[in-house]
């Protein structure tokens, strides 16, 4: 039997908490059979800094700054299938709680008027990515092919989704893998 070519997967966390990545790791010993089928490109697991051509991209977290936009675009450009994983990627999630605040007053409060700050100033080093005025879900910036809901999605849901995808099936998270409360 000829060995099938391994699929290449890239993952990243943008405006997220790495909770979704922890959930990916939570597939535990199933990582071994997974590694029979796939290999990792850019990912916190590999420390590769830039994403090359991939089959699947998994993105955790929403878009809160200019760098997020660049990374997301790099993923879109390189991944055949791009997946938004978790509430932050799909809806903006927790970071989007700042959306009802004005960015200027946020920055002012954090860097200028917060008690205990002496000679505070708003960081303006070009090395730092500028924050967008609002946090956005991924699908408002690039086309997203699939969504795995949850905060974070369970390891079982991620496992089911990936194995379906690898097997060439349209992923279906049936009863029990999606929680509504």
């Amino acid at each position: 039997m000829t060995e099938k070519k391994k699929l290449r997967i890239a993952t990243t966390s943008l405006a997220g908490c790495f909770g979704c990545h922890m959930s990916i790791l939570d597939i535990d010993e199933r990582l071994f059979p997974l590694l029979e089928l796939v290999e990792f490109d850019r990912s916190p697991l590999t420390d590769i800094k830039h994403c090359g051509p991939c089959d699947i991209g998994l993105v955790e977290g929403g878009i809160c700054n200019a760098e997020n936009v660049h990374v997301l675009r790099e993923f879109r450009k390189n991944c055949k299938v791009l997946i938004a994983i978790g509430a932050c990627a799909i809806n903006g999630g927790l970071p989007a709680q700042r959306n009802h605040l004005d960015l200027s007053s946020c920055l002012t409060e954090v860097y200028l008027t917060e008690p205990g700050l002496v000679h505070g100033h708003i960081p303006n080093d070009p090395e730092l990515p500028l924050p967008l005025d609002k946090v956005h879900p991924l699908h408002e910036v690039v086309k997203i092919d699939y969504f795995i809901p949850g905060c974070p999605p369970s390891a079982d849901a991620i496992w089911k989704f990936l194995t379906d995808l690898i097997a060439g099936k349209t992923p279906e998270l049936g009863h029990g893998l999606i929680k509504y409360d």
């Binding site: 936009v69 708003i122 303006n124 500028l130 967008l132 005025d133 408002e140």
Partner: protein
């Protein structure tokens, strides 16, 4: 009634407010199923429902505070915080917009130094928008403290601004501001009827309950509220359903944008409406009836109460009606408070019970488990009129009118681009073109039949006929000529659905908002073919998984206009296959300003 600048402190009630609360509660016998009516009346007097009033009502009705807050927050006309002594709401139907409502609203905001949706700092007023107020034939229209003002012009807006600045009580405003015309241009069976009060009822009494059901069944009458269910079958099912009490409910919520025929019926033919309800009561064995009147039609309340009182005095309502011993029936009017969903029958019943207007699971249908879980016959205003006529005329004569599957006449509310908007009554089977001719419409590009949830048809279809066989309609007929942008029409409707989604089920709550965002994205010139395809996907989700008809029809405006007027969408699209939903570089402007940066890293290209 409107009171002057009353803003009770949020924590304490003044003695006069307290006695008012006691009066309102006493009037409703501390009955928690009357909660919505109680809240409405409190607000009518105080301008909003202060925190202390919430506590007071909670205690009096022995219900938790959060039930009151949850009900109050559901209805757009109820406020838990002051929205100003004068609450100005511009009707935001597409027909109002076509008559210039948006410019008028901008003017008024400028004149009074106000931002839409905000309360002025002195607490004097707020200006906002509301869904169609049913004055499409005499727009642009507005509500001030839930009272309808029609035919707005720049001059009128200016005068209203002055009156508000001078804090003139609403009752002292010029009466012609509040004048609502009937605009009947074609009368038929109903609007031309010459029956005396009680005549149809007398005919019904001679027949008796079972025979009434039989006549209505044989007449072929179908509901005029939209769904077209055979009225006779509904009454029969209700009559046969077991229960402690049977109820009759008249649906006068008339929320479908572009529809205003029930308003005219209640103005001109209130007796016929009540007569139909009384006949229904005789048929199903009900002692109590309700008329659920949309809050926008609050100005009709006194008139309707007067008619009811006269009917009581003439023994057409009350005990032993027309001398028939044991035939007791009376009608109570309940007011809605600005929620389109309350036109859906099970949501309406929830609202009648003083709850949030969230649609129930169906089945069981109201005929077996309706108001207070008892058998309830619920019909549209016009249906009751038609039923009274059918009973009076006899089934054979009635069913000879119209077409074989759509018997009788239909009231059409014509609005939009035509010189003679108003009410037209036709036998079913009339063609769209005939109506266009009658109302004088020229260069017509499209007609929206039966409101946003209905059907949009283009020129080549104007030969189609109104009726359940071809174009079913609840009565709205909005005309758009070739100067109109059908994309903007659809966008207005999509905003309407997103605003009116009751939020109970996720597909509709989220889906209607996503649809709105997609339409706004296309309007902003950021749309792509991908977005058009997404609308079709969304439609599939909404149609297959929504809990009620609102969600199931919410994509119709887009799908229909896409079918007939695709170029109106395509001309706005960017040719690329995907575009961000917002201006990326613009989204960094704030941060650039705050950091003083303008280097390359401080900018984002729209596309890479």
């Amino acid at each position: 009634m409107v009171h002057e600048a009353v803003s009770p402190s949020p924590r304490f009630l003044e003695p006069k407010d307290l006695s008012l609360l006691q009066q309102v509660l006493g009037h409703h016998a501390n009955d928690s199923t009357k909660l919505l009516q109680i809240l409405r009346e409190v607000q009518e007097h105080l301008g909003f429902i202060p925190n202390a009033a919430v506590s007071f009502i909670a205690e009096a009705l022995d219900i938790p505070r959060n039930r009151i807050e949850s009900v109050a927050s559901f209805y757009s006309f109820l406020h838990l915080r002051s929205q100003g002594t004068y609450r100005v709401l511009f009707s935001d139907n597409i027909t109002d917009r076509m008559l210039g409502s948006q410019t008028l609203m901008e003017r008024m905001c400028q004149q009074l130094w106000l931002q839409p949706g905000k309360v002025s700092e002195d607490g004097l007023l707020s200006i906002g928008t509301t869904s169609c107020t049913g004055m499409c034939d005499q727009g642009p229209a507005m509500l001030v403290n839930e009272r309808a003002i029609t035919k707005l012009t720049h001059q009128r807006i200016q005068e209203i601004g002055q009156l508000i600045r001078n804090r003139t009580p609403l009752n002292d405003w010029p009466a012609d501001f509040f004048y609502v015309e009937d605009n009947i241009h074609r009368a038929g069976l109903i609007l031309g009827n010459t029956m005396a009060y009680g005549e149809a009822l007398q005919a019904g009494l001679t027949l008796g309950g079972a025979a009434i059901v039989d006549v209505v069944k044989r007449s072929g009458l179908r509901g005029r509220g939209g769904a077209g269910y055979p009225t006779g079958l509904k009454w029969e099912a209700c009559r046969n359903a077991k229960g402690n009490q049977h109820y009759v409910v008249c649906n006068a919520d008339e929320g479908e944008p572009g529809t205003f025929k029930d308003r005219v019926l209640l103005t001109r033919q209130a007796d016929l409406v009540f007569e139909g309800m009384t006949l229904c009561a005789l048929a199903v064995g009900a002692k109590q009836g309700f008329l659920y009147l949309r809050g926008e039609y609050r100005y009709l309340l006194d008139h309707l109460k007067g008619v009811l009182q006269r009917r009581r005095e003439s023994n057409l309502l009350g005990v032993d009606i027309l001398g028939q011993s044991g035939f007791d029936f009376d009608i109570e009017i309940h007011l809605g408070a600005g929620a389109y969903i309350c036109g859906e029958e099970s949501a309406l019943i929830e609202s009648l019970e003083g709850e949030r207007g969230v649609p129930r699971n169906r089945p069981p249908f109201p005929v077996t488990q309706g108001y207070l879980q008892q058998p309830t016959a619920l019909d549209n205003v016009e249906t009751f009129c038609q039923a009274a006529l059918a009973i009076h005329m006899g089934a054979d004569k009635y069913s000879a009118i119209g077409t074989s599957k759509s018997t009788g006449s239909k009231l059409i509310s014509v609005s939009g681009d035509c010189p003679r908007p108003g009410i037209y009554e036709y036998p079913f089977g009339v063609s769209v073109q005939e109506i266009l001719n009658d109302c004088g419409a020229v260069n017509t590009r499209a007609v929206q039949i039966s409101g946003p949830s209905g059907i949009c048809i283009g020129e080549h279809e104007f030969g189609r006929k109104l009726g359940f066989e071809d174009l079913p309609t609840a009565g709205a007929f909005m005309v758009f000529d070739d100067s109109r942008d059908m994309f903007e029409v659809a966008r207005n409707f999509v905003h309407f659905f997103a605003h009116e989604s009751c939020g109970f089920c996720t597909p509709c709550r989220v889906g209607t908002s996503m649809l709105k965002q997609t339409m706004d994205k296309i309007a902003a010139g950021q749309g792509t073919h991908y977005d058009l395809a997404e609308v079709e996907n969304l439609d599939h989700v909404l149609q297959t998984t929504s809990h009620c008809g609102l969600g199931r029809t919410a994509c119709n405006p887009v799908l229909h206009t896409l079918k007939h007027f695709r170029p109106a969408y395509e001309s706005r699209l960017k040719s690329l296959s995907f575009k961000p939903a917002f201006d990326l570089d613009g989204a960094l402007a704030r941060a650039r300003q705050m950091t003083g940066r303008d280097d390359a890293g401080a900018h984002l290209k729209e596309n890479e």
